[in-house]
């Protein structure tokens, strides 16, 4: 009954369908007895976590699959309580410190110290160390990353870290240099097709060739998305004929496209306020602001004159960057919307723009 994407996830490194070189390397590392800190990075849906799970299995054996979830309370210096969900087995522990936003440093320090100061009690364990998996490592604050540095060296005898991130650019150099970097690239269209076919075979049907191609293309390297789409399609349309196929967009994407259309249709203060309401709706329902601006910008750019495209994207990039520095995302999103409207109207009446790229 679980989703195909979970049901058919490869459990061990041997079952993986692509990046065989990487799998072999991970296996060799796990067998060597010495194991470095590692940083897995690559786009979402490429298989980072699957590979981490495989590596842990290789390291510790079946025991790592017995997971339990625990909610722990941490106290900040200001006595604020933080709830953190922790997934752990007897050999490893997984945390997502970014859950607690700015207080991630507290969580990192507490958990790592605790793990690092206790030795493996189970004498039959394959390794003397425990592994701490840190998810979303690229959204760790600077403070938290700084807190990691020293611990990584000091407690090497008891503990290894596996960081999981989308890109290394937001990690400070000292962390990167302490880790073995493992890039998990997005699968190519062909690799995705093999996986899709494999899943279909396991589920007892076959997918027409065109359909596989269509899904793989639409997923754009995100295998998770491809598998979820495949399952959704199969539910709607059991024979999966490519001609009749209409890959349904997720709710937020359709919503973003609506917003883009609204921007193109009318440029007025009243419209900005309508757009604002929609943006609030998206943000409050946990759609990341950078995804929002990217999706809307893509859709807007599709519909405007060639001359405007570069400008619109330029400003989207600027406001996206500001959004990351600032607190209230909506302010920057709205500023971008107003900018686009202003650019559009200017172009419509072909006035010269006063503000240039150089303004920033």
């Amino acid at each position: 009954m679980s989703l195909w994407v979970d049901k058919h996830r490869p459990r061990s490194l041997d079952d993986l369908h692509y990046h065989h070189g990487l799998s072999a390397r991970l296996k060799a590392l796990a067998a060597s007895g010495d194991f470095p800190h590692m940083l897995f990075y690559g786009p979402s849906g490429a298989g980072k976590k699957t590979r981490i799970a495989g590596t842990l299995l290789e390291l510790f054996g079946k025991g790592v699959e017995k997971l339990k979830i625990d909610q722990r309370v941490f106290l900040t210096p200001t006595k604020r309580k933080l709830d953190v969900n922790i997934v752990q087995s007897n050999y490893h522990i997984e945390i997502t410190p970014s859950e607690v936003g700015n207080y991630d440093r507290v969580v990192i320090q507490e958990i790592l110290k605790e793990i690092a100061q206790t030795q493996q009690v189970d004498l039959s364990a394959k390794q003397r160390f425990k592994v701490v998996v840190i998810h979303e490592a690229d959204s760790l604050t600077r403070d938290a990353q700084a807190a990691l540095r020293r611990t990584m060296e000091k407690y090497m005898s008891n503990m290894r870290l596996i960081l999981c991130a989308n890109s290394t650019s937001k990690l400070i150099a000292p962390i990167r240099s302490r880790c073995l970097l493992m890039r998990v690239a997005a699968p190519s269209a062909e690799e995705m097709q093999t996986v899709l076919d494999h899943v279909a075979k396991r589920e007892g049907f076959s997918i027409p060739e065109d359909t596989v191609k269509l899904i793989a293309e639409d997923a754009n390297g995100n295998l998770r998305k491809a598998l979820l789409v495949l399952e959704a399609l199969k539910m709607q349309n059991p024979d999966l004929e490519a001609s009749a196929l209409n890959i349904a967009k997720p709710d937020w994407e359709t919503y973003c496209h609506k917003v883009a259309d609204m921007i193109i249709q009318e440029q007025s203060p009243a419209r900005v306020m309508e757009v604002r309401a929609k943006l609030y709706e998206l943000l409050s329902h946990c759609i990341p602001p950078s995804i929002v601006i990217k999706t809307i910008a893509d859709k807007v750019v599709e519909q405007v004159d060639e001359a405007l495209k570069a400008d619109i994207m330029h400003w989207a990039a600027i406001y996206e960057a500001r959004m990351r520095v600032g607190n209230k995302k909506i302010f920057h999103l709205e500023a971008w919307v107003v900018k686009v409207m202003s650019l559009y109207k200017h172009f419509f009446y072909s006035f010269d723009m006063e503000a240039d790229f150089d303004d920033f």
Partner: protein, 643 residues
């Protein structure tokens, strides 16, 4: 009122007030400038005649105090001619500096009571009120010091006390329960209690209001105060014109204490005060009204007739920001699009449209700048010195760009409350729910953060909702199976449905499912037991606490090799989640008498029964398990100590 917290009134005994009031010879003979006493202290009213105004209230208070004994005898059942006979306490309220405390003290003394005063400098928590405010006895001084009319601490003693609770609206967070305790006291007191407050409407005074007679002191008129002030000035040998004194009194709103303070300060510097000086003194008194953000926004974004210099405007606008630095920027952001900017009044046609958008663009960019500054102020760096920059960027600059007509008080363009706050709260709530769902699904999925919302939520929705919509009641079982597969609960179902937008918005989705299906879904889910892998952290801290001898308890979190189940039994944890069967690392730790692998969460009601000693699962079995678990914990601990 004029002296700080000294309990004793200056009058000695009941009749002393009149005697001392005739001539305060000691003070008038002192030379100005040599004394360190402040005028308000030196000229505090010595008798009821010195109090400015409040004649009616004083009369009432005297009558009440005078009739106290007979009222006490009749157990406060007879209202008397002014209706005060049924009250055991009086609440005096009024603005500061008009003689509330002095009146209370003098009235009490005049009626033959010894005033005992508590004010904000005394702790007045519930406990302290209970202990200190002795309301059933007569003054002890009378018994201990015998013939002497003053006690050792200078408290004049009569045979009866009167409690004056000053500044009761100042009972703050530290005095929790103080007001309620006081009200309780009032209901049974045998001595009169006079409570004094500035703001009768204060929330924490509610219990007192209902228990006491309410007496309002209003500001005395200028004439009543003037004569008193002039006589003081005469004694101090200072000449100040009458109209200046009046001006001062009006400026201070009849606050006698403040008037005297100002006059003393001026006479220390120069001997006297002229008209101009009076005016400037009054100017310093002016209290600036704190504007609410709505008013500030109207002023900021509303049209302005020019005339003031731009420098003044800048300062005025920054001031508006500082009325409420947290809210005003949000109000500006919420409302800056609702105006028709003044700057556009000379432009027409398409150019107007374009220039309007340009102004909006500049304003929006300024708001975006401001948010970055705000992050520096409120983030980890805490650059509070940037606050003025934030004021300009978030408020002054956008307002100056789009300022104009159009902002109404009602209708679609009315100044509205910032939506940001509500949406932000909602976002925090939903993302917390989502994080919880994601953590529960973690063992069987490999996804986190944004990806979960972006792809998994739309992916799971068909499984969670479609069958309920299409098959109605028949779809319930498959939905529940899906939830169980992912360790999700009925609440998690709600959480996932809640985060949908557009066509997946929860309102739309929930409307598609018939109500009967929804209720039977809930019922059927609750009627079964489900395997749950996670447990709430709160459960651990909400425990009634381990038995005192169980010293092993704190180690709970550090022992990884002990299964969760056994640990929880060890601390007497009855109904929380017990760990999954397959998570027990070694089977031999489980006693024969444990009912095997029933890793279920018991509904709290059943658990409560079990805890009370009824036996859903026998209490004895639990005790046995607890015992072994403790042993196990101890064993688990040993190697750590050694190594």
């Amino acid at each position: 009122m004029y002296d700080g917290s000294i309990i004793a009134p200056r009058s000695r005994g009941p009749g002393g007030g009149a005697a001392t009031a005739t001539s305060p010879t000691s003070t008038s003979s002192r030379h100005v400038g040599t004394s360190h006493e402040t005028w308000p202290d030196r000229y505090a009213p010595q008798s009821l005649g010195d109090v400015c105004g409040h004649k009616a209230q004083i009369a009432k208070l005297q009558l009440w105090l005078g009739g106290w004994n007979s009222n006490l005898k009749s157990d406060f059942t007879r209202p008397g001619k002014d209706g005060m006979g049924t009250f055991r306490a009086v609440m005096i309220s009024g603005p500061p500096g008009i003689g509330k405390t002095a009146t209370a003290r003098l009235c009490a003394a005049a009626a033959g009571f010894t005033p005992v005063e508590f004010n904000a400098s005394d702790a007045r928590s519930k406990r302290m009120v209970d202990i200190q405010v002795n309301t059933s006895n007569m003054a002890l001084d009378r018994w201990t010091v015998r013939a002497a009319s003053t006690s050792t601490v200078g408290v004049a003693s009569a045979d009866r006390t009167c409690v004056i609770m000053d500044e009761v609206d100042g009972m703050s967070s530290g005095d929790r329960g103080g007001a309620a305790a006081l009200a309780e006291r009032i209901r049974s007191t045998k001595v009169p209690i006079i409570c004094i407050a500035n703001d009768r409407g204060a929330q924490n005074l509610k219990p007192l209001i209902s228990a006491s007679y309410n007496m309002v002191f209003s500001r005395p008129d200028t004439f009543a105060v003037r004569s008193r002030v002039l006589s003081i000035l005469y004694r101090e040998r200072v000449t100040v014109p009458v109209h200046v004194v009046e001006q001062l009194i009006q400026g201070a709103q009849s606050d006698v204490r403040q008037v005297l303070n100002i006059l003393q300060m001026w006479t220390v510097l120069k001997h006297g005060m002229g008209t101009e000086e009076g005016r400037s003194a009054v100017a310093t008194l002016e209290r600036r009204p704190v504007m609410n953000p709505f008013g500030a926004t109207h002023q900021l974004l509303g049209s302005r007739t020019s005339g003031t210099s731009s420098m003044d405007m800048l300062e005025a606008d920054i001031d508006l920001y500082f009325h409420d630095p947290a809210m005003v920027p949000l109000f500006v952001q919420e409302n800056y699009l609702k105006t028709t900017p003044d700057r556009l009044h000379a432009v027409v046609g398409p150019r107007k449209v374009v220039e309007h958008l340009e102004l909006m663009d500049k304003a929006a960019r300024s708001l975006s700048d401001a948010d970055i500054v705000d992050a520096k102020i409120h983030g980890s760096t805490q650059y509070w010195s940037l606050l003025p920059v934030h004021a300009v960027q978030s408020t002054v600059n956008p307002a100056s760009l789009v300022r104009g007509n159009g902002l109404g008080y009602t209708g679609p363009t009315a100044v509205s409350f910032p939506q940001w706050l509500g949406h932000n709260t909602r976002q925090i709530k939903l993302s917390r729910q989502l994080a919880e769902v994601q953590a529960k699904m973690r063992p069987s999925t490999a996804v986190d953060g944004a990806e979960f919302r972006l792809w998994y939520v739309p992916g799971t929705l068909p499984h969670l909702v479609r069958s309920l919509v299409m098959d109605g009641a028949r779809g319930i079982d498959s939905t529940i199976r899906f939830l169980e597969q992912y360790n999700l609960s009925r609440e998690d179902w709600d959480a996932i449905v809640d985060v949908g937008v557009g066509d997946n918005a929860s309102a739309i989705v929930l409307k598609k499912i018939p109500t009967s299906v929804k209720t039977s879904f809930t019922k059927r889910y609750n009627s079964r037991t489900h395997r749950v892998r996670s447990r709430k952290a709160a459960a651990r801290s909400d425990l009634p606490g381990p038995p005192a001898h169980d010293k092993l308890y704190p180690d709970l979190e550090e022992i990884h090799s002990v299964s969760v189940e056994l640990c929880m039994v060890a601390v007497g944890f009855h109904y929380a989640v017990q760990s999954d069967d397959d998570m027990l690392d070694d089977g031999d730790d489980r006693d024969a008498n444990t009912p095997g692998s029933d890793a279920f969460i018991l509904p709290p009601r059943i658990a409560a029964v079990a805890a009370r000693g009824g036996g859903v699962r026998s209490g004895r079995g639990r005790a046995d398990r607890g015992h072994t678990a403790r042993g196990r914990v101890a064993r688990g601990r040993a190697p750590r100590r050694g190594g």
